[in-house]
Symmetry: C2
Subunit: 228 residues, 2 copies
């Protein structure tokens, strides 16, 4: 994507669509989660594991964002969960208008829990509100301990940070303690869940927290306001 002076206008226009989406989600009673990460951090795998544990209790749907393929949407559909693919072409993030258009294509009113899996990118998705209740970030621990310093915005914006692939930590030379310290530096409030989708370690903690958020109807705005 390409930098231009009207950046602020674009973000303002996006906010308008995001507010519209939020209203629609409220109207239909859908709790909405925006899942963000760098490419290859394991968003889709975390989503598969999460869906596996929740699908008997919620009417689930998934909107997938990708540049070109439907690989991820196909993985979700294989779980028997309705999924809708947004292909962005060369655009490196989802914006609220893309989600707005997707809502019309998708049977949103039949759902009460909607995941939006963003394009794999550690930078731009963090700038675009989609109208979601929660922003969940997935990070691959083997990508290094210093990334929260180098890409602070997404870590800062996250309502929860899932540190994935901890099974690889013993072989990677990355310190989980240092990584958590660096996440804390840019985000003092979000819960941090070290997990392995391979062994299942840590997933129960994430699921327990997430179920509570849904049950209480917590939104990022409400949680940040009460933290302030």
């Amino acid at each position: 994507m390409h930098m231009i002076p009207v950046e602020t206008d674009i973000l303002q226009a996006n906010q308008h669509w995001a507010d519209d989406n939020r209203e629609a989600f409220l109207r239909y009673g859908v709790y909405v989660v925006n899942l963000m990460s760098a490419p290859g951090a394991g968003k889709t795998t975390v989503l598969e594991k999460t869906i596996g544990r929740l699908k008997d209790d919620y009417r689930l749907g998934v909107i997938e964002g990708d540049l070109v393929t439907t690989i991820d949407a196909d993985r979700i559909a294989a779980l028997g969960v309705p999924s809708y693919q947004i292909t962005t072409g060369t655009v490196c993030h989802l914006d609220a208008r893309m989600v707005h258009n997707a809502i019309h294509e998708f049977k949103i009113k039949d759902l009460n829990l909607l995941f939006i899996e963003n394009v794999g990118n550690l930078v731009c998705p963090a700038e675009f509100e989609l109208g979601e209740d929660l922003k969940i970030m997935v990070y691959s621990t083997v990508d290094g301990a210093e990334k929260p310093k180098k890409y602070p915005l997404m870590f800062h914006e996250a309502d929860a940070v899932i540190l994935n692939k901890i099974d690889l930590l013993p072989y990677s030379g990355v310190s989980l303690e240092e990584l958590i310290r660096n996440v804390r530096e840019v985000n003092p409030w979000a819960p941090i869940f070290p997990v392995s989708c391979l062994t299942g370690e840590g997933l129960s903690d994430w699921i327990a927290w997430f179920r509570l958020e849904i049950a209480e109807g917590n939104t990022r705005m409400r949680r940040r306001a009460s933290a302030a």
Copy 2:
């Protein structure tokens, strides 16, 4: 970064700066490499290993692109190699104008080999020519075998693909064969170097190829023309 209708104009303007850069690099006799990857693939570590093996034979310099920190530039400076940091703020890639400005700040005329380490992003850096001779892509094998299908442009544009962290493959469930097959699907010509910066495996093959490219003054344009 944010999608707007004048995308083509931006890429055209970028091309103008890239041509200017290329002219300057030719004039000063500097061979220039644009290093691209997703965040955490190990660009800086590959660069450190490469510098370690080349620094007695070339007058090296490094331009680092990052959103906010100088962590990577500091790592390069620690090797005794001149480094210059471009901090892009919220911009998710380097463009040719940023590099153009950096050239003036940097003693480019004292060098004969310049690395430009791009912002960690698997999408946008691939769209912006910088005036480089080679585009080298680093990919972390543990990020999965299917990414060349999902993010084809950078794999397609690369003059060589370094598949890093192969030491983690036995623990990751990722098939190197499938990954290589998927790279080949979008890029039939680039050499592929599976490497481990931890064990050193595969680095000699990459260095040998790279030295030859420099010696022959090969550029991506010349190599693609001869392949066509």
